[in-house]
Symmetry: C2
Subunit: 151 residues, 2 copies
């Protein structure tokens, strides 16, 4: 797969599987909505502060983010770190009309936060082959990329 094709897979996907580590070092997985991307390597996820994965990421930022398309048999798993943001700029940007259902306190709701996942490398899978994506390749590909919602 080319980096362009992997980018297409990421933009098409609405959800991703977030991998994290619990306090005992066990791997955990949660499905998350992931439609905000900055290039191939940086992804933003709005979620509940109180959720187990956010609490885990606040203690250990090692994470992975897996996107796949079961119709085309394409998948990519990025490995990197996650930063949990409580700053209003992130929370405002990712806020959607109707999110009061989930966060009654609105944008300032303490249970609302934004996880920024930053890839350090990746690995892709398709019927015609698999391979690694280096941090350098990601950095070169993402030069000048802007944060954008592909929902």
């Amino acid at each position: 797969m080319t980096l362009e094709e992997i980018g297409g897979l990421v933009k098409r996907a609405e959800v991703a599987s977030l991998g994290f580590l619990d306090e005992e070092g066990n791997p955990g997985v949660r499905k998350v909505f992931s439609t905000w991307h900055k290039g191939l390597g940086v992804h933003y996820i709005s979620t509940n502060t109180s959720s187990m994965h956010v609490q885990a990421l606040l203690k250990n930022d090692r994470a992975c983010l897996y996107f796949d398309d079961c119709k085309t048999f394409e998948a990519v798993c990025f490995t990197g770190k996650a930063i949990v943001h409580f700053e209003r700029e992130y929370k405002e940007l990712l806020w959607n009309e109707g999110d009061e259902r989930y966060y009654p306190g609105g944008v300032e709701d303490e249970d609302y936060c934004v996880v920024e996942f930053i890839a350090e490398r990746g690995r892709y899978y398709r019927f015609d082959g698999k391979g690694d994506i280096s941090g350098e390749e990601l950095a070169t590909f993402d030069r000048g990329a802007e944060m954008k919602n592909y929902a």
Copy 2:
């Protein structure tokens, strides 16, 4: 969710997200076919010995297995360990007609193995609430359960 409802979710699912740890301790995720179950707590996955997740599990058996149904907004993540089997009994049982496409050497192909995931606990999610499943609850529920293919 009741354990019966969680069992229904697992049996309906054809794929699951397997969480594991790489050599540096980073979480990794791969989508796997998972249709063989023994009750709620034990799941069998046929896969490639050479794949990154099998090589990682051979070094560190900590794992998780996440099943979800995006239509009903139900999900469960089991935490536990993974055992990689090369014994013929497992490989024969999970062998499907046509698997020669993936494993040209047939049942005895060295690149073919069976991962047994054994849950120690779980956590479920649904629109109407989330909660923990203890190891004791799993053991009680699974008493007398048989290994079966729900494909």
